[in-house]
Amino acid sequence: MTIEDEPLVNFLKVHCPTAPPSPPHLEESIMKAISASEVPQARRRKPWWWLSLPTAAVLVGGYCWFLGNCGKSPQMASGGGEEIEAFMMEVWNLSTTSSEFSYAK
C-alpha cells in the first residue's frame, strides 16, 4: 500500500458500515435446512476406479465370447478312426499318381 492510499484505506476501515447481527432464528433455520439435505459423503470416489469398471467388463466379456466361439481346445475324435485312415490312404494314392502324370508331361 502506498502512502497515498493509506488515508483512503483508513477512512474505509473506520467508516465502512458493519453488517447487522444475524437474527437469532437463522442458526436454527440453517441447521434445519442442513438436516433436510443429504449427509455429505465421507470421501469422493476416484474417477479412475469407475472408469476401470466398464473397461474390465468389456475385457472379460470379450474373453468369454472368444472362448465360446473360437477358443475351443482341440479334442481327438472319439470314433471313425478307420474311416479317416482309409480316406487318408486314398488321398495319398491319388496325389502320388497325379504327380507322376504331371511329371510325364
Binding site: 477512512f11 442458526e27 441447521m31 442442513i34 438436516s35 465421507a42
Partner: protein
C-alpha cells in the same frame, strides 16, 4: 502468543472440518458459530442488506453440501471466502435480471436524506464499484487478506488483483472527492 493461539485455532478448525466431512452436524454448528459473522460481513459489503439472511443460509448450505470435496481442511477459510464470492456473483446475476429492483435501489441511494453519514457514503461508494472491484477492496483493504490468497479466492492472477485494487481505489477516491471528502 498470538501465533500460538492462531495455531490452536487452526488445528481446532481442521478437526471440525474433518468431522463435518464425516457428517457430524454438531461440528458444523460450531463451524457456523465461528465463521457466520465473517461470512455475513462480507456478504453485506458485497451485496448489501437485501436478502442477507438468505445469502448467508445459501453459503452455509453450499458449505455443508460440498465440504466432503475439500481435500485440504487447512484451506477452509479460503474455500469459504470463495463460496461467499460465488454466492455474491450468483446474486449479482439474479439482480441484473431483475433490473427494476436495481433501479429502485439506485433511487433510494440517490436520496440525499439517506446520505447523512460517512458510513452511508462508503456504502454508496462501494455499491457504485463493479462487483469485481468491490471484492478486492473488501478482501484486501477491509478484511486484510494477502493478495495471493485473494487471487486464489477469485481465481485470478496476483497481477490482476493489484490492477483491480489500483482502479477500485482510484474510483472510490474520485467518488469521495465528488462528495466533498478529500483524502
Amino acid at each position: 502468543m498470538n501465533v500460538l493461539t492462531d495455531a490452536v485455532f487452526e488445528t481446532d478448525c481442521i478437526q471440525l472440518v474433518r468431522k463435518c466431512q464425516q457428517g457430524d452436524k454438531q461440528s458444523f454448528r460450531l463451524l457456523y458459530q465461528r465463521y457466520h459473522q465473517q461470512v455475513r460481513s462480507i456478504l453485506y459489503r458485497l451485496c448489501g442488506s437485501e436478502f442477507l439472511d438468505d445469502l448467508q443460509q445459501e453459503v452455509f448450505l453450499r458449505v455443508w453440501k460440498s465440504i466432503h470435496q475439500l481435500r485440504n481442511p487447512q484451506y477452509f477459510s479460503t474455500w469459504l471466502y470463495r463460496i461467499c464470492w460465488n454466492v455474491a456473483c450468483d446474486e449479482n446475476i439474479r439482480r441484473q435480471k431483475q433490473r427494476h429492483q436495481v433501479e429502485n435501489r439506485e433511487k433510494e441511494l440517490d436520496n440525499p436524506l439517506l446520505l447523512l453519514h460517512y458510513e452511508e457514503l462508503v456504502a454508496k461508494g462501494l455499491q457504485q464499484l463493479s462487483l469485481e472491484h468491490r471484492a478486492v477492496i473488501i478482501l484486501h483493504d477491509l478484511e486484510d487478506l494477502p493478495q495471493k490468497e485473494i487471487a486464489q479466492i477469485l481465481s485470478i492472477p496476483v497481477g490482476t488483483v493489484k490492477s483491480r485494487l489500483f482502479k477500485a481505489r482510484k474510483k472510490l477516491r474520485e467518488f469521495l472527492e465528488k462528495e466533498g471528502i478529500t483524502l
